[in-house]
């Protein structure tokens, strides 16, 4: 068994592309769930909004890729309003139900035969990311070239993705950090704990919740854009319930209501994921059998690791709900 390779994989995934777009999504989710206490269980839908926004530009509308940013934001705002208008005046559970349902319907719509001409059906969209990749080439990163040192050696294309992705993480991290230090952030944190108290002090709670939902969703849409551009394609089944839940797991792992938590949590999630995945793959080089009963074979590894990540979320919530960086005193999605 090559334990070195296992750690190498874990470290690379810790700073890798998956961790980076998860971190962007988690920063957005943190605004909603962590700071405002909004139960958005459909972050995948916002990510799909961003991804399809950029995907449609070249592939469907035949316009410049960069319009995709605006289209993606537009879709995300629309989704936020659609989910928020009926639910944000009601108790928190309704938002959870509507977001989880909307995310599922969004996925069904984009993969449907009916709307194949708009969203590409199950094949998704591709061939739209050239303009984005050209920028990487222009600053001197050859797509096939190798850059870096030791185990941190990336192709030019990967390095470009990582540079853009982590820059976005930094930008959104700073934006959210500043906002949460402002009086606006104070209102959100107060709403998380007791919205009636805030209402009695003359704040329009509904409007603040909407702002938070939409802002978090727009940040989430940037995660989707990053995913689409990095992979140079959009696949409808990327945006499943698993995506939402794993972003949430990453956030909880890091610690809700902390910007550092929302960034490092997803990194730890992917580090841990890669560690377990490669470890199991190393261990199970041939099927594990008891008698003629096959317990596990190498093709099961992905599914088993997903299962373990689900259990991780449960264990975290029971034993350390504030995550690694959270503050128990301030730990507070549990206001009501």
């Amino acid at each position: 068994m090559d334990i070195g390779a296992v750690f190498e994989n874990a470290i690379l995934q810790f700073i890798g592309f998956n961790a980076c777009y998860y971190a962007i999504a988690a920063i957005g989710l943190n605004v909603q769930f962590g700071y405002t206490g909004l139960l958005n269980f459909g972050q995948a839908a916002f990510m799909a909004a961003g991804a399809y926004g950029v995907g449609q530009t070249v592939s469907i509308f035949g316009i410049s890729l960069w319009w995709g940013v605006a289209i993606g934001i537009g879709y995300a705002v629309f989704l936020g309003l659609l989910m928020g208008v009926p639910t944000l005046r009601l108790r928190a559970d309704y938002l959870a139900i509507v977001t989880i349902a909307s995310a599922e319907i969004v996925r069904l719509i984009v993969r449907s035969v009916k709307f194949r001409d708009q969203f590409g059906g199950t094949d998704g969209l591709k061939g739209f990311a050239d303009a984005y990749q050209d920028v990487g080439v222009r600053i001197g990163l050859e797509p096939a070239g190798e850059y870096g040192f030791w185990i941190f050696t990336f192709s030019g294309r990967n390095l470009w993705n990582l540079m853009v992705g982590w820059s976005l993480v930094a930008i959104f991290g700073v934006i959210v950090w500043r906002l949460m230090k402002s009086p606006w952030g104070r209102v959100l944190k107060a709403i998380r704990e007791d919205e009636d108290a805030v209402r009695s002090l003359g704040k329009n709670v509904y409007s603040y919740k909407m702002q938070s939902l939409v802002l978090g969703g727009v940040i989430g849409s940037f995660a989707g854009m990053m995913l689409a551009l990095g992979n140079a394609n959009v696949q409808p089944d990327n945006f499943s319930r698993n995506l939402t839940f794993f972003v949430l797991t990453g956030l909880v792992l890091g610690g809700v209501a902390k910007v550092t938590g929302s960034i490092i949590g997803p990194m730890m999630f992917w580090g841990l994921y890669a560690f377990l995945d490669s470890l199991l793959r190393e261990l199970i080089d041939k099927p594990v059998r008891i008698g003629d009963f096959t317990l596990m074979q190498s093709t099961d590894v992905g599914v088993v690791v997903y299962m373990l990540m689900g259990i991780l979320l449960v264990v975290l919530m029971v034993y350390r709900p504030q995550g690694v960086f959270g503050n128990k005193k301030e730990m507070a999605f549990e206001g009501r």
Binding site: P86, L90, D93, A101, D196, T299, G310, I311, L316, P321
Partner: protein, 445 residues
């Protein structure tokens, strides 16, 4: 919910028996031997299925295998990986070197006379490397006209309603537990869909071992009750006693949902499978609708069970206690109702009903690892429509949503999107009457 939780088993022997039963059940689950043995040979392969898509009089699709068609798999560079001819099941299995991007092409000239690929099925399909869930990736090709217009409009409407009633009954059955757990503890259980899958899969497991479905189904229902029992006994009752907040509990159910779903995918596999009994039934015509004896019996049994549930809630002491706890747990406690016991019973009954709903759904369609998840959203729409937390609301709302989903295709909603109107209903009801049809407005502040 801060009062200490008292177990329902007062004597130690009883508790031990329950634990033994539970452990036995878990062992049985992990050793679902039958599933993986049939899953696939080692190594990756693409399984091409060519089907002639016809619709029977009921409007249900009825796929016949197409034999002797040549299919070819190409790799990303366009080089041929393998070629094969479909067997008498219409299946061609082509081994591939690994999980990568491939193109699957069908040779249209080898199709039997009189058959052509349907308009929605291109002659060439691409397979993305990351779309392999298990080692085998299934690619379907369909021939035949996709819609036969032989049935009259009234027949179509009647048929959609009949199917809708069946789906509605199943949704209602699955959602009773979901709604009552919410009503009594305030918890929105996002893993409730997995309790439905659990029932269907457990029945499949015993069915696959050789037990008739009529025996396997009751076992699954009992197992569902036990699952509900242990979920509360070893999970949520403790969380309540420890003061774990509701939102944390909700996130816990999300984690359980992912874990259970992937467990099913691991042990059951990614393919849909029918139960071994009552699979090839011919529908008979009753008035304007065509229905198989199996579906008819499912409808009748589901209706009878739900009427019993409704009567229990309305007239028995347990039912009254349940409603009292739903209304106001503290007040109920002060009048001498042991609310933790009521909650335990609701978990057991809810789990059993969900499992039964799962078996019925598995009979109606097929068993799959994510069948509960796809029903969950319809259940939510149903209980929101009926009134969150109300047992009758869950029955009525689930029933209405089922009919709505099945009849929506009459209004031109594509079949693949027929669940979408449920979201629309969910949003509309929240805008107009958030407490649902049968719910009551609550005092604010």
């Amino acid at each position: 919910m801060t009062q200490p939780v008292v177990g329902t088993f007062k004597n130690v022997a009883g508790r031990q028996r329950a634990v033994q039963l539970l452990v036995g059940l878990l062992v049985a689950l992990v050793t679902m031997a039958g599933f993986t043995s049939s899953a696939a040979a080692e190594g990756e392969a693409i399984r091409v299925q060519v089907k002639d898509q016809q619709r029977d009089a009921a409007g249900k699709t009825d796929n016949q295998p197409v034999v002797g068609v040549t299919v070819t798999v190409l790799d990303a560079s366009g080089a041929e990986v393998g070629t094969a001819v479909t067997d008498d099941k219409g299946v061609a299995l082509i081994p591939v070197p690994g999980k990568a991007d491939y193109t699957v092409r069908i040779d249209e000239s080898t199709l039997p006379d009189g058959l052509a690929l349907s308009s929605e099925s291109p002659a060439e399909q691409t397979v993305a490397g990351d779309s392999f869930v298990t080692a085998t990736k299934i690619v379907n090709f369909f021939t035949g006209a996709s819609q036969s217009e032989s049935t009259s409009t009234t027949e179509r409407i009647a048929q959609r309603f009949a199917d809708g009633i069946r789906l509605g009954l199943i949704i209602a059955m699955c959602s009773v537990g979901l709604s009552l757990i919410f009503g009594t503890t305030g918890l929105t259980n996002f893993a409730h869909g997995e309790m439905v899958t659990f029932g269907a899969v457990t029945a499949y497991f015993f069915n696959d071992l050789g037990l008739h479905i009529l025996i396997a189904a009751p076992i699954a229902v009992i197992a569902g009750g036990l699952l509900g029992y242990s979920a509360d006994r070893f999970g949520f009752a403790r969380f309540r006693a420890r003061g774990v907040g509701l939102i944390s509990q909700m996130v816990i159910t999300l984690g359980l949902s992912i874990a259970a779903q992937n467990f099913f995918l691991w042990r059951f596999g990614g393919r849909d499978k029918p139960y071994l009994d009552y699979t090839n039934q011919v529908g008979s015509k009753i008035g304007p609708i065509t229905i198989t004896p199996r579906d008819l019996i499912v409808t009748i049994v589901a209706a009878v069970v739900l009427v019993c549930v409704a009567l229990t809630i309305q007239y028995t002491r347990l039912g009254k206690a349940t409603r009292a706890v739903s209304d106001n747990a503290d007040l109920a406690s002060s009048t001498g109702i042991d609310s933790s016991k009521v909650i335990r019973i609701i978990w057991v009954a809810g789990g059993a009903l969900a499992a039964m709903g799962g078996v019925f759904r598995g009979l109606d369609e097929q068993v799959s690892w994510d069948m509960g998840t796809s029903l969950l959203f319809l259940m939510f729409a149903g209980i929101t429509l009926g009134g969150l937390g109300s047992a009758f609301g869950a029955l009525v709302g689930g029933f209405v949503v089922g009919i709505l989903v099945e009849t929506s295709t009459l209004l031109g909603v594509p079949t693949e999107l027929k669940v979408a109107p449920a979201l629309l209903i969910l949003i509309l009801i929240l805008l107009v009457r958030p407490q649902g049809i049968l719910g009551r407005a609550q005092r604010v502040g």
